[in-house]
Symmetry: C2
């Protein structure tokens, strides 16, 4: 396996020199500065690649091996009027990436909102902070701040009552804070930040789009893009929904093994792959992570490794340290290593320690939410230790 590190570009607080020190060797990045939907040019990709791969004297080198993500515009997910043009632009971006020899592209197909949390700095017993999704606080936002029409039907009487109490106890600052966290598009999101009115409009645009329809749109997208990817030797990896269930009444179709099976059956191209994200899939108790890795092993080109802990009835969760929580990371890595051995030295899986607790010096400075240097490095080190013990030291 290859040790990846998500890098948010030259303006990010974590620099390439920092990444080198963590022991990571492969960069996962995107042209974050390009507006969603605008086609990337080969020149732009090559400039960024040159920034990443130009190594200072006497330093270890980095290689840009994964694009995470080329965002998929909303019109493609909705199959709106501009969908065809948007898909053409997406293929142009893919071609620019392929021309630079970057072999893996990650994307997701979550409508309106990408990954979602309600707290960025939940204090854990070690004093490090974690991201958290509190189902009751989320319901309070959905019902009483967003005031989504029809939201009431998605919650039980008891849920609604509890959410009302929580909402009424919120200060103005707390309301602003949870609104900001949910609507601002967390780092790396492939959706746009939204105001409350814009959020409501987006939801209206999805009325009539259920899971079956959204899945059809994704399959149409894959049918359009996989030939280009396959011809150029690029693997596309679909990131799971985070959390892996419906939010705001919207369909989500990359939450379970069955979801992925449907896509692989419909579009068998080997370019149609999976970003195996234990943090996203692991939120559902009914997702058997090692079994999913085994079942789709040959389609896993990229892996996000982190753990979550379900609280209460499981609708609330927080991000654990990488070896704690509900994910059996050793069992997961055993499956991925077995797949790598089948592949030989070529095209081994790129993994990155996903997210990380905010700790030590990162507590005292501005960090990219979910992506602090130190806790992420701790996670990478833990994963590296497992891989050494499995007789598969990562490259």
């Amino acid at each position: 396996m290859r040790q990846g590190w998500r890098w948010f570009g030259p303006e990010a607080p974590v620099t390439l020199d920092d990444v080198r020190q963590t022991g990571a060797t492969n960069i996962v990045s995107s042209l974050h500065q390009v507006p969603i939907g605008r086609a990337w040019t080969e020149k732009e990709v090559r400039e960024r690649q040159s920034l990443i791969e130009t190594t200072p004297a006497d330093r270890s080198s980095l290689v840009w091996s994964v694009v995470e993500s080329i965002p998929i515009p909303d019109a493609v997910k909705r199959r709106g009027g501009e969908a065809k043009a948007e898909i053409e632009a997406w293929i142009a971006s893919l071609e620019a990436v392929a021309a630079c020899g970057i072999p893996i592209v990650c994307y997701n197909f979550m409508p309106v909102v990408d990954w979602t949390r309600t707290e960025l700095d939940y204090v854990t017993p070690t004093g490090a902070t974690a991201m958290r999704f509190d189902h009751e606080r989320f319901a309070a936002f959905d019902l009483f701040i967003l005031e989504r029409p029809d939201a009431a039907r998605d919650y039980s009487d008891a849920d609604r009552e509890r959410a009302r109490i929580i909402f009424e106890a919120m200060s103005e600052d707390e309301i602003a804070e949870i609104t900001r966290i949910i609507t601002s598009a967390l780092p790396g999101s492939t959706t746009e930040p939204l105001t409350i009115p814009a959020f409501r409009e987006k939801l209206v645009a999805y009325s009539g789009i259920d899971a079956a329809k959204l899945r059809r749109h994704l399959i149409e997208f894959l049918e359009a893009v996989t030939p280009a990817a396959e011809a150029r030797g690029v693997k596309l990896t679909l990131h799971p929904d985070d959390p892996p269930r419906s939010l705001f009444g919207l369909p989500r179709i990359a939450s379970t093994a069955d979801d992925y099976a449907a896509l692989f059956d419909a579009v068998p191209s080997k370019a149609n792959g999976m970003c195996y994200c234990t943090g996203s899939l692991g939120v559902r108790a009914d997702n058997d992570l090692p079994a999913i890795a085994r079942r789709f092993a040959s389609r896993i080109y990229f892996a996000h490794l982190r753990a979550t802990t379900r609280e209460g009835d499981g609708r609330t969760f927080h991000e654990s340290a990488h070896l704690e929580g509900d994910v059996d990371m050793v069992a997961v890595l055993r499956e991925l290593v077995a797949e790598d051995r089948r592949r030989g030295d070529q095209d081994t899986i790129v993994f990155r320690s996903d997210h990380g607790h905010r700790m030590l010096d990162d507590l005292d400075k501005t960090v990219t939410p979910g992506y602090p240097a130190i806790g992420r490095m701790r996670g990478l080190a833990e994963l590296r230790g497992i891989l050494h013990a499995l007789g598969a030291p990562p490259s």
Copy 2:
């Protein structure tokens, strides 16, 4: 195994709150403020213990389980006039530690100088810095700065010539720097800082003390202290010499498996144990680390885990990241875990990630040489990963 962390006390840059965040659970510390040789009181030990073990609300707890070290005064090693009184004081300190329920004590028996390096911030290819021992620079110090009488006989003609060239190329600042590093007693040392004249005097005091004699002195010390330790349920753990060979013509007697075997044969008490330090022992290519762990497993109560890389003919080495270098850490941990399983849940081995590269934020601030927070945490995380994969998650 229990996850330890060396903490240098309330004035140290790495705080107990920092330690908690790393995932460590057991504190390794000493009353660093007490002058070498002065007996510790139970009150002093208890105050420090209370500082360590008083847990802020909603935080995970720490326990002080290893005293590293109760320093052994020079007179004991030389068997000088005050040796008897010094041993009595040492036993008094041991009794104070035992009264507070701290079960493990570390010590070493290196004469004149404790652990020794020639560079504190050797830049590695990742950009993180490591400690290094350069045999040629060391020889330059020994021959031309310390001007040790008889030093010439410890080096070949080629060594001396090379050392002379290096010395002559040194600036005043470089001479001051290497002198400071070698004579100032690195953090945690159980010897005193020395001026050059005091250094020369110390060496004179050891004339006539060869390895056999020094070993006798250590055995006499153990015969005096192990009954007190055994009666109070405290395990004494002898740290190996670092590096594990003679420096400055002085004898070193805890460098190999045979050295330890001689001590265990002479003083069979179970209180006579080993601090298994892979970083120190691993510098010698003829020390088979997993074999040493297997041979002395039942005597290993405390482990320092880090790796070194031998350079050139092996007399020069630098400290590697914990899973790199010449130490097979997985094989080592396999042995320690096997021993822990034999013991059951009681008295499992306390280990700490020893040293660590200086990296990320620790590059920009004052750190305790060898003991930065971040690189050390990275090492701990790597070891934790191995232990999870071995089916023995550490406590």
